[in-house]
Symmetry: none
Subunit: 259 residues, 2 copies
DNA sequence: ATTATGCGTGCAATTTCGTGCAAAGTCAAG
DNA sequence: CTTGACTTTGCACGAAATTGCACGCATAAT
């Protein structure tokens, strides 16, 4: 049995049983526990499972995961969110992506805002129920458990009836040549479709997303109209952003504010 | 069972029951109380629960409060939920209504269940993201801010493509002559439509809903196939339910369980 | 006050973990 | 075909984690 094959099997069994016990699996496959442990360590490093004493468990599931992710770079994301919220005007129809950055945006929208927000994230929809003058439209579809947004043809179909003014997109990678990217194919399709149904697409990218590329490309940078990013600590701002401005994208730099 | 898995189980059980009794759990899991106590100590150190003499309670006073508040009617609703969850079989397609009663149902579905759950409640959709083998389909539409479910023509349209085996309906009134009712017109339409797209409709009604009628009628009692209610304290059970059984509805009475 | 139950610590037995290391296997260039 | 770099695997050994038990103390109940 090939190593990669074995790792695949581990993931399948993990999905099926909800757990892996190193010793059991070693006996079952006629391998030393060391080998299994090595596999588990590797897979854990790639984030495909969660290593625990005695074996492994599925990679932290959605909600626990999103709570953990929420705290990553929360300050810089909140700064982005505040800047983005100022770009929305009364009466507009806004598409709001799923993800932690846009969740911050939803939370910091002024309570007085009168607008229609269309989203495919149930989390964001629930959050916006607190805003009395915002009409919330939820795009249905198959729920992606990792990113907690709806995807699939049903979602695309529901979207087809909608034409919005703004779309705030979250991504996991922004790269001058590789374009905008994310880690999930279905999501990539969805984001592309959302962008096609809005007059303007604005990408919100916190510091760690800049200059990196994820597995699935959404679209080239040239197709968006604005990029909202954090101001860098060092003085390299101008150099870092000129790449994007030269592609015709308006770059909004946000100073991290003190909390 | 892996240690981490056990800790996870403790947290889940804490959320479901609102309390943990060390001794009971130790017996139940065939472990020494020492081990359980150690777990509780660890989890308390992480702030995930509050250690008390004899066991543990939910962590923050806020959530404890929510649980206390929910527990007023929660015991009976949870009993309903447990009974309802047993009616779902692997491979089925289930429509789940919004509301607290059905949220309880979502929470107590076994993690091993393999089924498709269709819902128009974003809250329930997010909750079910934790169930690895449940495919979650969210019905989109305009979000009703009060009841936190989607309604409107978009929701009806999305629903039109779906045909389910079971529909678990929540209502605010069950009355022999006035039928099933709820407090919101859009919701009434939606529930009626959901019922039309399932082979069987089962209504979950906690004690205080029986014999009362709300503003908007959903449908007559005769159109549903089952009614899940709490067993009454007094001996009036037979009399109270005979009205419904004579209308051709299977009544499932649930004993409130002891915590 | 007294009794019973639960708590925490220390301890020992067992299991699991990680690392270093060597043997066996793989692959490609020469 | 051979050589050499690299990967994979199993083993050894010390470190760390887990668990059950015993003992003395704290807390709750009667």
């Amino acid at each position: 049995m090939l190593t990669q094959q074995r790792r695949q099997l581990i993931l399948e069994r993990l999905e099926q049983d909800g757990q892996i016990v190193a010793k059991t699996l070693a006996t079952h496959l006629n391998l030393s526990e060391d080998t299994i442990r090595r596999d588990l360590r590797e897979l854990a490093k790639e984030g495909l499972l969660q290593r625990v004493h005695g074996g492994a468990l599925p990679a932290s599931t959605a909600t626990a995961d999103i709570h953990a992710r929420q705290n990553i770079a929360a300050d810089s994301k909140q700064a982005l969110a505040r800047a983005a919220s100022k770009m929305i005007q009364n009466g507009q129809i806004v598409l709001l992506d799923g993800g932690t950055t846009t969740l911050h945006l939803a939370k910091c929208l002024p309570k007085t805002l009168q607008a229609t927000v269309v989203t495919h994230s149930p989390t964001i929809a629930v959050e916006l129920a607190n805003h009395p003058h915002v009409e919330v439209v939820l795009i249905g579809g198959k729920l992606d458990k990792h990113s907690l947004v709806t995807v699939g043809t049903a979602a695309l179909e529901a979207l087809s009836h909608i034409r919005a003014d703004l779309y705030f997109m979250g991504v996991t990678g922004v790269h001058p040549e590789a374009g905008l990217s994310t880690g999930n194919l279905e999501e990539a399709y969805m984001k592309r479709a959302l962008s096609n149904h809005a007059a303007e697409t604005l990408v919100m990218a916190s510091e760690e997303k800049l200059g990196v590329a994820s597995a699935y490309m959404i679209m080239p940078i040239t197709e968006i109209s604005g990029l909202i990013v954090n101001a860098l600590d060092n003085g390299a701002d101008a150099a870092a952003t000129s790449v994007y401005t030269s592609l015709g994208v308006t770059v909004t730099q946000v100073e991290a504010s003190q909390n």
